[in-house]
Symmetry: C2
Subunit: 282 residues, 2 copies
Amino acid sequence: MSNRWVEKLEARLGTIVSNPDNLLSAPMQHALLAGGKRLRPKLFNSVLVMFGLDIKDYLDVACALEMVHTYSLVHDDLPAMDDDAYRRGKPTVHVAYDEATAILSGDALLTDAFTVLANAQNLSAEKRIKLVCILAEKAGSSGMVAGQVLDLKATKQTIDVAALNTMHALKTAALFEAALMMGGVVSGVTDLHQLEGCGRALGLAFQIQDDLLDVESTQEAMGKSLSDASHEKASYVRIMGLSDAKEACRATFEKARTLCAALSVDAEPLHTLIDTIEQRNR
Amino acid sequence: MSNRWVEKLEARLGTIVSNPDNLLSAPMQHALLAGGKRLRPKLFNSVLVMFGLDIKDYLDVACALEMVHTYSLVHDDLPAMDDDAYRRGKPTVHVAYDEATAILSGDALLTDAFTVLANAQNLSAEKRIKLVCILAEKAGSSGMVAGQVLDLKATKQTIDVAALNTMHALKTAALFEAALMMGGVVSGVTDLHQLEGCGRALGLAFQIQDDLLDVESTQEAMGKSLSDASHEKASYVRIMGLSDAKEACRATFEKARTLCAALSVDAEPLHTLIDTIEQRNR
């Protein structure tokens, strides 16, 4: 599966925030175009490829996903939240600019994502409104935002693995679920539960892996502050120990593969992506 | 025009944020149910009444407007922004809770507004997607957020009346425009420019009036910190003087009335609302 469309995605993201009326162009570009992994667009794309569609016809949907993800990073990095100074190898928005600019840039990325999604080309109004529903639900108070609330509460508290799973199912996996489900909507899939389940397992696996990389990697390789330990954040490694966390990571990737194999189409593109994620070192 | 539907609106707002999965229910209720004027829902309703529709069939659209307005207040009040301790007669969210909770509650109000709008009853997918477009565009980086950027820049700077108009056209009027245009979409109006123009004039008039009330009223009557003067914020009174600001206020309300009278339907409900706004003392 070629990823050459990622260049087109990034060009499109650049165009979206370069609207001449946009006074936050520079900080929004700073956040959006800092060399992220584009995992959520890649998840979305994997479903499209399964159904023989070309993501270049649906780049706006992928952009909306990336914009919502990026807003969450900009706000999570704020001093009142995780207080992180580096992200994707660059100073975070509130460090490069200031706190007010970071709050407003996040607000703009989130709001503009819905403008982009609502105006997405090559999709009926029915499909676009379903996409808005999924993205807003998975990102909102019962999804990603709830995960961030739990994350802040968990800092300096003792929580168990079940609570950690709940937190990451919301904070990380909800947007993975949205990415696969939105690929399903574009492709005409009516029952989205299997894609949702696969996104959830993969999101959790990704997060356990993140905790492992946090311990085993360097800030340089990860491109962000390795701050979870210094903030006494709950992590799989801290709660389960290194060896059990590694096993949980392997088993959760395996669960994602099993759910993926149960899809009613040939899921090779998603299998390939799962392999790529499992092999990442940052 | 009876406003008894406002009770139903507030009950519906309460229900929306009382989702048992919502960990931010309490701060979101704190912000949403603090006795706001519900002006944007009232603007939306005035268009519906003109076209013989009943807002009780479209309460979710009004809720989405109020949620976006409330998110903007919660974020604008943050220490990194206007740093206000009181709003609608109560401590602001970051004072009653904490800064992280205020950031996340604002994020959730904004995101959930799109869930509510996308799922609104009694509207075709075509109309719902148009509503999403309008709300996101008017609230985003070319609308309300841009107004807040200009507002922060204007603090302690000397700006002229034209710049102040541009700022408030974005910060305040954009959501007034959205409210009237969204009423138009629900009512089947295809050309929304006149409603947009009327919303813009009324939003500016409202803001000039706000500056006048800021000077002439007390904190108790306004129910919020009268902080603009202490923050050396640009205001119509400061730039034009009291007498000219009063005249500009009167003339801008008159402009809104003229634009309203030019609508192709009997605009009495909107005229009545303009009168009510002009006569407010808080």
